[in-house]
Symmetry: C2
Subunit: 381 residues, 2 copies
Amino acid sequence: MNTNHSVGIVERQYFTFAETTPMQLDSGETLSPITLAYETYGTLNAERSNAILICHALSGDAHAAGFSPDEKLGWWDDCIGPGKAFDTTKYFVICSNVLGGCQGSTGPGSPNPQTGKPYGLDFPVITVRDMVRAQQHLIDHLGIAKLLAVAGGSMGGMQVLQWTASYPERVRAALPLATTARHSPMLIAFSEVGRQAIYADPNWNQGNYYDGARPNTGLALARMIGHITYLSEESMHQKFGRRLEARERFGFDFETDFAIESYLHHKGSRFTERFDANTYLYVTKAMDYFDLANGHGNLMISFARCASIMYLVVSFTSDWLYPTYHSKEMVSALTGIGADVTYCNLQSTWGHDAFLLEVETMTRLISDFLDRVVAHHGINL
Amino acid sequence: MNTNHSVGIVERQYFTFAETTPMQLDSGETLSPITLAYETYGTLNAERSNAILICHALSGDAHAAGFSPDEKLGWWDDCIGPGKAFDTTKYFVICSNVLGGCQGSTGPGSPNPQTGKPYGLDFPVITVRDMVRAQQHLIDHLGIAKLLAVAGGSMGGMQVLQWTASYPERVRAALPLATTARHSPMLIAFSEVGRQAIYADPNWNQGNYYDGARPNTGLALARMIGHITYLSEESMHQKFGRRLEARERFGFDFETDFAIESYLHHKGSRFTERFDANTYLYVTKAMDYFDLANGHGNLMISFARCASIMYLVVSFTSDWLYPTYHSKEMVSALTGIGADVTYCNLQSTWGHDAFLLEVETMTRLISDFLDRVVAHHGINL
């Protein structure tokens, strides 16, 4: 799927931004200080009009493209770089770790200024709107009055929608991919069993584990559940089928028999090396609370000030976690308020992960869309 | 959905059957003694030709209909009783708890004759074919040469398919409902995370917990994961939506916010009152191993001796756990060998649970089908 033969790896720059003014959260609490870790790719033009903010999903971080010092490629490197969907020869791309995160931004593992120790569960519960609020401070700090685009898939797409609803005057174009305007009960259900898996780990200790053993078993279990939902029945057949792992016949024991089991174990255990269980709790809770129409009752009212924003909405036929009809509801509200909306329901067998895997199609779609945004606004790149 | 106004509750009779001859298992091990708990409803006719065996799913037991001594209705009471789908004024209905079970049949919680203590993980790993082998001994014991029908949904349907493949000469009709001839990688994946949740519970203690605290947290977690998969996205919207539970607004904490969460907690905790975690391990493993074509490579070869059996295959449009195409593959193989197959893909929003919930439609379908089987074979009821 990835045919990046003529495209390159972008230079990655890493920064942190510290906001010391206390930020008011949706919960009513205030939070201070706030640090956001972010990376940038490409160059901000003189008019500061070529900036694109990338928002990451549940398990993502600021490292979206290029190589990190430990030689890891960014999570969306397929789509960010010279000649790629978000072409860094034209655009200045920013990606920040979300508020509540565990990869450089302030989250439950950060020191609580009251105690000097990690917050744990004393960290306030945050929302997607709080994440976007914090990002807006970062965009201020970078001196960018108006983003050319905000883009992201899954939870990243929720931030995209929230950006346009909260700060429509600061966004020219929005790319909500494989996402929803309202976290469904099925999504909440999967979130909650993931959280329960973490609570059940004795090492979790009500969130106070930073001095000792970490709740890696619970976190790995939550991640395994997640990974099932990111695939599709069909892609599991294609990738694994009923293939056995490192044995010729059934073991008639409770060791690993099947390749799909081995894949899940691997994904679960790798995840614990880079992720904090408390962040998993906070970020899934923020997703569960996400309902853009909350308080309005009607999605068109949420988008009332968004008529001048250009949208590219993408869903995937085999994504059963964020089914197509969620995107269609979004598109219907956006066309209702007269926004310029391009909607694609892409045929794919890759399930929810398709937004990361269907690189060729996404590249064509996104780069054509961004060209159109640039032309429409007469932006000098 | 249930409009059982003119139908009654059946008398339930409870028995156990003990087989002392060691039974050879698929694993190569032998097991002895074996007890099967079973219930019967209705009366066996003089010709012993009106017997229907009901096979239960993962979490089921022998108590399929009527009231138990503690006033609990059987799990398929909607469909078994006078005037119901399996009409006990006409048929003699049998339901036994599977081998490996925890509701009266021999399983990992039963005493190991070698030690006098519960088997735990010393219980041999069993297969769906082993379950059916044990049931066949029970049918022998009841003096029934040929069953009028074998019926069941989900794992019950796997047993139905195995019955026809293993003992075609002993079955006139088969009703595999909401099932598959081959456990898919997605099903294996969900099984495995359920098992991992149990392993992760410190009370599980490698299966040795019968003297102390039980791994209820892990078992409840496994059950919660299961319950998500038994519903559909649409039925969750209808049943729960984003409704809050016992609060007017978000709590901004990690207590229960949503009704769907409360439903899962309830289902998880109730399950631990009646189910054994080790049985959960053994039964899910048996399902994972289930692949009727294993060793043949081709489903038609598995059904080679089944041409004279009449089949009613039913799938449900919103069942994403056992999607329609699994049933279609089965039907295609069965028509290929020339069997009499009726196939219905029923429109339903209830997901996998539909086989238990679409009572009206199932009643009509099943009772008409059984009438046709009776007429075809000239059975005197």
